[in-house]
Symmetry: C2
Amino acid sequence: MMPPNAGTKHAARDEHAMTSHWLPCVPWVRAYTRVTLGQDLLAALIVTIMLVPQSLAYALLAGLPAEMGLYASILPLIVYALMGTSRTLSVGPVAVASLMTASTVGGVAQQGTSDYASAAVMLALLSGLLLIGLGLLRVGFISNFLSHPVVSGFITASGVIIGLSQLRHILGVEAHGNSAPELLSTLSADLLATNPITLAVGVSALGFLCLCRSQLTPRLMRVGLSHRAADLVTRTTPIVAIVVTISAAVLWDLESHGVALVGHVPSGLPAFSSPIIDSALIQQLLLPAGLISLIGFVESVSVAKTLGAKRRQRIDANQELIGLGAANVASAISGGFPVSGGFSRSAVNFEAGAATQGASILTAIGIACAAIFLTPALYFLPKATLAATIIIAVASLVDVNIIKKSWHYSRTDFIAVAVTISLTLLLGVEIGVLSGIAVSIGLHLYKTTRPHVAIVGNLPGTEHYRNIDRHDVKTHDNILALRIDQSLYFANANYLEDIIYGALAAHEEVEHVVLMCSSVNEIDLSALEALTEINLRLSELGIDLHLSEVKGHVMDGLERSHFLEHLGGKVFLHHHAAITELAR
Amino acid sequence: MMPPNAGTKHAARDEHAMTSHWLPCVPWVRAYTRVTLGQDLLAALIVTIMLVPQSLAYALLAGLPAEMGLYASILPLIVYALMGTSRTLSVGPVAVASLMTASTVGGVAQQGTSDYASAAVMLALLSGLLLIGLGLLRVGFISNFLSHPVVSGFITASGVIIGLSQLRHILGVEAHGNSAPELLSTLSADLLATNPITLAVGVSALGFLCLCRSQLTPRLMRVGLSHRAADLVTRTTPIVAIVVTISAAVLWDLESHGVALVGHVPSGLPAFSSPIIDSALIQQLLLPAGLISLIGFVESVSVAKTLGAKRRQRIDANQELIGLGAANVASAISGGFPVSGGFSRSAVNFEAGAATQGASILTAIGIACAAIFLTPALYFLPKATLAATIIIAVASLVDVNIIKKSWHYSRTDFIAVAVTISLTLLLGVEIGVLSGIAVSIGLHLYKTTRPHVAIVGNLPGTEHYRNIDRHDVKTHDNILALRIDQSLYFANANYLEDIIYGALAAHEEVEHVVLMCSSVNEIDLSALEALTEINLRLSELGIDLHLSEVKGHVMDGLERSHFLEHLGGKVFLHHHAAITELAR
């Protein structure tokens, strides 16, 4: 088959070869035209309309004053636009990082105090510096240890916790806690104190947003809008809920009826400030900052890659660390809290036609205008409306499918998902994600301690050797041929001895043991000593130990040791040659 | 070649098949004869003579009263004899566990107080219970994560620290600390206070023991003793040093000249007692107890296996956990401290002809007699003599060769050794061994995140495919054949994408990418999603993705997913078939 679009293939390859530099914005800034500006302006307008309520809502979720949400959506966007490699990723406050901020900062300071706000700022600073550090050291690969099932499970469980945490604003009751049981028990304890007017506002907003999400897009499409345009309009509906509920709050003086409002939001742009350095606080925040960074980075890069692939734009993971890190530092010095690349806002930015990060810079200008001119109106914004916005936004994070999918595919993946989800729900985000990482690495290591070992035989008429349990193959009584399906290293060196002696017990006529090493990618010093021991023991039993299909780089190692000098048998390049020579 | 000793082979196999049970002593107890008794009695006599000074010395090393060393050498020996699977392993106080006890207990109590002693007892109890727990859960495999280089490095560094810590007794000065720098600085600070008579005693004992070790064996052999007998006599020389220095202390009243003596040692057998349960203490001791258990277990099993192999006796690792655990619990309830299987004493036991664990029971009786009858004489034993005994004993633990060997064989093994040795020396035993474990696991994981991937071609005239960089092979311009030398899992799923896109950039004519999966022992959910993504991306570029040589159990997983439905290319059983079909 000939490739139908060889040109595209070349383009993709060239982009892959593109080297990263400190300001990945240079290419698009140089090529910026009036057309690009038009595209970016439209996207920025739509994203701004979507981002104003979201920024306020995520600040609320993080337990912070509303203005911090706006601050986190100005400078970080500009910094990422200049230093990030994605053309369409939109950075700012996101649901999971806000929840993690609330959980972490709630542990070191009292919500509503200035200590609480400055701890959140410090958290952003630490996250940023950690990300930049990882990027400079080019060790972004450590984020790979956050497996997909763990991240999916964690985000799903976080979505549930976020939803539960927002119920109190919908009901107008007191509730607190970082885990599902805490939230549920405090919610139910205060349920009788539900404020009916708050509930009416919350349920109306929730109903309106739900209805928009499920009905508006198809209806708009029926009146002639494209799917993309209809979807974009739907995304801006939270602003309608906000305008309507603000108006209601003003008209009917809802505050005097006990409806919680956002209250005074200072007008204007954030003042630059350097965070207060408190080493005890830093110690407490370091681990959570690391977790927030890693999870934010993994999500961000995954969104950036998905969008990048659609337009054949290359994402450089190490530069992303630096870009995202710089955005967090920018958030910290402009009074914001941890930020990350968000999926929904980036998707909107992309679908609205953003051509470059110019759209993000224009969005930042839009949010800045909101911070300057709209803040007086925000006084009357009911918190229940913001809670409804959050609930609708996080509903899409909950991916119950990952449980089914992992169960179906592999039990170890399922265990990792199940542990992550259940511990996140029961014990909170930090323990949840750390356990998920530990369990997935632990299970991986556990599997390598008991490698799959197959007795192999010849597929008649070929030179191939396959598992005797799966194929109809020919074996020889005097040869025990074992294919070791794992690298040999300290954690499975002992197990190898057991396997070989065990297999020998069942094969009494054996004179030759041939270890087929086609899957052995490493033999470390511990494994080498185990092999030496096995060779010695087999020699004592009058059995020769042979190796076959040893990979070049593994053979290099063996040749550097004394193992081959004492080996009872030989090393064969091909397993077939070994069997041909040794068969009786 | 015909096996020369097929009978032995059968015997070894039968023993392998032997199932473990709760009292592995039953077979040898049933078969016990007068001849066996004679062999065991001789071995017990020699081991007792060697063990009395060693037990006292290790109690001193652990910072404990001398009698605790004797107590730890009575009941634990009997319990291990009944519950362990090795016929010749000798259990009791050992150097490394004693050092670790001193380091741990020194952190929670003041040496010389009753709190110190009871913390040591608690440490033995916790170690014992942890070992039994691991054995019952059959999870002894976790000890495999202590790699051979880490254990060797750790023991070497421990030997150095032990040697340094004993210098103060030789010099008669004050010194303390758990690390080499601490010990050296406190030693040198007090060097001027050296007691010349203590120094004379210490140096004489050290010189005498050194001389015996280097000269006595060859001389005894020259007068007609066998090597074995000569070596055994040499091993008993510490008792001579002890008798001579005790006599000197009595004759010249060394105590009044400032020579530190062991002092009052209560006579008689230990009283049974249940350790005091203090949950705060338990929390502090739990991690060190785990480390002591694991290291003791690893060493013990390694000694047991080495000796077992010489007499074709099978060691069951899980039963060893239970036996060793029970020995530690026995030590705790009889006022001892953590015990383990010792290499030198087991070797002596073995060489002295011990036929069964009956020798250990007889040794325990011997030590009990010493505890009853010899304690008054121990009052006059100079601590310098015991220190000399320890220094001679640990000299054999120091294995500098491991540094050279690991450097030569593999850099990752070397890094693990270097980190373990240097951190143990600089920061103490706990941090040292934990860092060693963490570094070796970390390096292993790191290697798996960047798997070796080879472009492969056909070895002309065969059906074999080998690395194009190592062999003179034939390739096709329209096929990119990659052999992935690693299982695919979450930690390397992203790397795979980079590798494939990178390789494509260098091979422009490619229409087919064939992933040769002969070394892929697992594809987890994260890797499956990466493959799905790669397949999609390649399809967009007009390239088909194929797999070859997928192992049976990996294929089972792929078939459970939807991956194969969307795969652009095919799955080939043999790589050769793939190339034959796809070549242009």
